[in-house]
Assembly symmetry: C2
Homo-oligomer: 330 residues x 2
């Protein structure tokens, strides 16, 4: 609740302390456990005027991984659903894909076989489905697709597969003067068309992997054309690099869920003054998925150990979150 | 003057219309000529609530070239003064530079000979002086250097060689809800350490050329190491690319001074709704420098023609600016 909203209720405050106390909880989907307390304590510490730990608003940067941290990533990162649908949509223009891997497997619906290939196979799929358009055309394709794309297991829109407790956390940080950024291994132009609507994060605060683009005049009209060439991989050690390139400041707080976020949290934690690092641990096989050390994509192994060693917050989804998704009945 | 400041003077407003009219001029260093009027009209148009041309604050992005647009660039872009000083400082560690071009010429003080070489020579100089440190070390080196670096001809600090009318323009746009960005061919990490103090532009709103960096743990401490490899050239057709990468929105207004800014202005102008493009034309050989079509670095030729054809604003420095630098006596 914003202070301005609170003011409207001020006359009733004395009579309804319990009610208001409840209504003003900025993180209502979080159980009252250590993870929630650590967040509230960090924000209080960094934003208390006059205290030694006070951080000016300009430096209140919070960075969030996307897949598995803000929205689900099982059975695979959702951008691969886009790849799959785009391969199907583009297949008529590419008869050679019927026999050419990794396209052939994908078109047969065997996603695992296609993705089990080398990184090069994944790169081929990404280029074939992400390059060749202008930036504006690509944004339109993504917007159209995400408007109806559903999760194959839950049947919910992918944009509903976002974690309600994390939406509350984003809003709470912003209400306390933080700027919230996405720093994701996913494609920056795949996320921008919907990140503001879904997360409240504007395009200039989305950092991600990218392919190269080139400026062209087409019939006198300037366009940026997306090329089938990797520009930047915003994952693992690439995350601090991407943060420095785009923001030029070290974050105050970092949120992730896998070893691919570890360097981002290390970079964040190494700054002076109050810092906050949090991993989301997927422990809830009923409401979401349970996975950590065993996975190849989405592995959370070194990060789990380092969080324990350094006292970073680890969210036990099953225990810490009252609900995972907004569509759940409480 | 900010509205809040104006309020303090409100009781005197009726009696001193002429005085207040003068005091509230947001662009006091601009003569009352078409260039100034075009700026005021554009801002009024884009920010008038309820009008068809109203642009929400989130989309009010203004991008500024740096060299020759916000500060001077003669006799050469100021970053080369840094290169020169760094080559001198590092020379004792590089005895081979005494005979190796382009270092040898630079060390002899023959800047023209060194820079007259190929782009590769310039790249060599940049790498030798910009790579090999951590990002934090480099920021410290730049901060120390810029604190005392003076212009060889005027004797003024380089940070005083900024255009007073452009500082007023930056402040005026920000007072009207615009976010002001630098989009420069200069090095992003060369500009960030002082851009906020000098221009009021924070690190995350500085876009520039860059070299690659890599994440390392040194004795357990994470650092970003600057590598002698070009990452991105933010010049000419690279400027719209850099804007899309970092901001993900098309600017509403763009300000430049050479053909290297032309594509940025084209990209800006091609968007729907109110757009504003402005070139600074260096016409004042007395207070600054006069140059345009004849120069190799800093050439303003195609841009001058296109501005005329498209009706973009061209600032005639000699006629349009009451003063160029803050240190001038009026």
């Amino acid at each position: 609740m914003k202070p301005s909203t609170l003011l409207k209720f001020a006359p009733f405050a004395v009579l309804t302390v319990a009610l208001v106390g409840c209504a003003t909880d900025p993180l209502p989907s979080w159980n009252d456990r250590p993870a929630k307390k650590s967040i509230l304590q960090f924000v209080a510490r960094a934003t208390k005027p006059g205290s030694a730990d006070f951080v000016p608003p300009a430096e209140r940067i919070a960075v969030f991984d996307n897949d598995g941290t803000l929205w689900a990533e099982q059975p695979m990162p959702f951008q691969f659903f886009f790849v799959l649908d785009r391969v199907r949509a583009l297949a008529p223009q590419h008869p050679e894909w019927k026999t050419q891997e990794p396209f052939a497997s994908l078109l047969k619906g065997d996603v695992k076989a296609a993705l089990a290939g080398s990184e090069r196979a994944v790169a081929q799929l990404l280029m074939a489905t992400h390059a060749g358009t202008t930036t504006e055309e690509f944004a339109g394709i993504v917007s159209d697709w995400i408007a109806t794309a559903k999760h194959p297991q839950t049947g919910h829109l992918l944009t509903e597969m976002v974690y309600q407790p994390m939406l509350e956390l984003l809003a709470y940080l912003r209400a306390n003067g933080f700027r919230t950024y996405i720093v994701s291994g996913g494609g920056v132009e795949f996320m921008r068309p919907w990140a503001e609507r879904v997360y409240g994060i504007p395009p200039e605060q989305v950092i991600g992997s990218s392919i190269k683009t080139t400026f062209e005049l087409r019939d006198g009209k300037p366009v940026l054309v997306r090329l089938p060439e990797v520009n930047f991989i915003d994952d693992g050690p690439g995350k601090p690099v991407g943060i420095q390139m785009s923001i030029g400041r070290r974050p105050l707080a970092a949120f992730g869920n896998t070893d691919g976020d570890l360097q981002m949290l290390q970079w964040t934690a190494a700054g002076p003054g109050p810092r906050f690092c949090l991993f989301v641990h997927h422990t809830d096989a009923v409401r979401e998925w349970a996975y950590d050390r065993q996975l190849s994509v989405g592995r959370f192994d070194k990060g789990l150990d380092e969080a324990a060693a350094k006292g970073w917050t680890v969210v036990d989804m099953k225990a810490d979150w009252k609900r995972v998704f907004a569509f759940e009945k409480l």
